[in-house]
Symmetry: C2
Subunit: 310 residues, 2 copies
């Protein structure tokens, strides 16, 4: 995981702290398998590592549920089946292009199960899905399902976020070969190194030029990183921008500020991650309870204890 | 359920008795939902009724496993996901025509999970799927998956059976409006009534004609029903055919023999069905054990206790 992957989760945690909302986090290990050329072993390892990072974010377990598709198939698959009936293959072809395999054909139904799960567990209520714009099609397909009103659910809303700039800078095509990403596991030295070496700068090519003309914070990756996430104080961010624009703050200095803030963040994330016990134990308070599973299946239309009735 | 539905199960039971083989019976409640215009409540009721009829057949619980897709989703869905990656949407379109919804797109992967489940639970071994010819495409798609050798499984074999004639007779298009089917719940009187009224006869139109020219057992539904299933003694069947051909056995008499055998069969089936206790209790010895579920997931490539590893 690189730092861009974890931001939405810290953002969701922020929303939870500010509003007291419940947060549902689905893990699409099934999609990863049908989409990528990876073995189930690799994907399972990936899932475990990601879950540890996710747990390190520090959600409130009483108000957070984490769902892993293949591990929670007892609830995910029945819900996905019911929603699958509402989605034509033509809709999928038109939305995503013709799927390469039938796992991908079915996948929008699993996404719908994810997006409607909060309402199926807890009853109809407004929901908000914080995503980047590339995930919007899933929400739109799901809104169509909700709009058919066969289930007592509201359409989920999408909260679209910008992509964070990669180290190569904004407006530049991201090519993963150009520059490394900052990983959640990076130490202070690696972070400083990567920022110094790779972070796209909005400054001038010489110190003299910079002092004279100033830099452009709008395209400076160090500045943008601080602006979007790592510098909490808006005043401090504005001050940095101003100093940068007027040339009193050099690119190298701005890079040091960014590297320090990112490393501080990573150190505290890593400390929380290291303090975690066994994954099974740590995950357990975040898992759907039996009552919640049953409520979700019931609201999707499955009779309670279908096989135990006469 | 009409009598045609239950024959394959009695046939499988016969094979089990003769060979000691293990029998796996999947219940596609998910397919019924995405394929038909029925509610989950109706389908659940249907499943319960069918399971009771299935249990009345009297399989050996030690050597028989019954799987209900949505109830056993913890094992069915992960397996289906892995097989879904092996099947292109084009294969499905070419095999079944373009699916109406994405549940049907995905369904061949669930079928593959059914057909390969015995080998995933117990290890690689020859398997045989007794089906009518209309189910053959599922087996062929699954054989292609097995042939890729990504899993340690042999291709499943299909044992294709003829369709039993409907009451309107062989070679005639079956139209469900023309004549009622004989239901598993029919009593002796209804059976006799239906056979007398509707069973297509190979006899002559008058008794005199029949005595003179004889009947044709090859198209006579009463005879065929006895031949295929209800008269166990081959000698007795041959004797009936001969008497019918030479005109000493009248159509009406043959119908009485058939009605009696069918009613005998149904009475004993119904008696076993009535003697069943609660479905949950009766089904329990036929369900996959935890060890079997884990073995199946493991052989499909899922690591044991994926979430409890470090």
């Amino acid at each position: 995981m690189h730092i861009g992957h974890i931001f939405p989760f810290y953002f969701a945690k922020y929303l939870q702290e500010q509003t007291g909302t419940r947060v549902y986090i689905p893990f699409s290990d099934d999609e990863k398998y049908v989409l990528k050329d990876k073995s189930l072993d690799e994907i399972s390892d990936y899932t475990r590592q990601n879950l540890r990072d996710l747990l390190a974010v520090g959600f409130d377990p009483d108000r957070t549920r984490i769902i892993v598709d293949t591990a929670d198939a007892d609830v995910v698959y029945p819900l996905a089946t019911t929603f699958a009936k509402e989605v034509t293959q033509s809709t999928v072809d038109a939305t995503y292009g013709e799927p390469e395999n039938i796992g991908l054909s079915f996948y929008p139904a699993v996404q719908a199960a994810h997006l409607l799960l909060p309402q199926l567990v807890e009853g109809r209520h407004p929901t908000l899905v914080p995503i980047a714009v590339d995930q919007d099609p899933h929400v739109r397909v799901c809104r169509d399902i909700a709009a058919k009103q066969r289930y007592d659910v509201s359409k989920p809303g999408a909260l679209l976020s910008k992509f964070l700039p990669s180290l190569e800078g904004p407006g530049k095509m991201s090519s993963s070969d150009d520059a490394p990403s900052i990983l959640l596991s990076d130490d202070r030295e690696s972070v400083t190194d990567k920022i110094r070496t790779y972070a796209y700068s909005g400054g001038q090519t010489s110190i003299e030029g910079h002092r004279a003309k100033g830099g452009n914070p709008e395209v400076d990756v160090s500045y943008l990183t601080l602006y979007y996430f790592f510098e909490e104080s808006d005043e401090r961010v504005e001050q940095l921008a101003e100093e940068y624009r007027e040339g009193s703050l050099l690119s190298g200095e701005l890079k040091e500020v960014a590297a320090e803030r990112i490393a501080d963040f990573l150190e505290s994330h890593q400390a929380r991650r290291s303090a975690l016990g066994s994954l099974e134990e740590e995950l357990s308070p975040y898992q759907l309870t039996e009552a919640e599973r049953q409520a979700a299946r019931r609201r999707a239309g499955y009779p309670d204890n279908a096989l135990s009735q006469q």
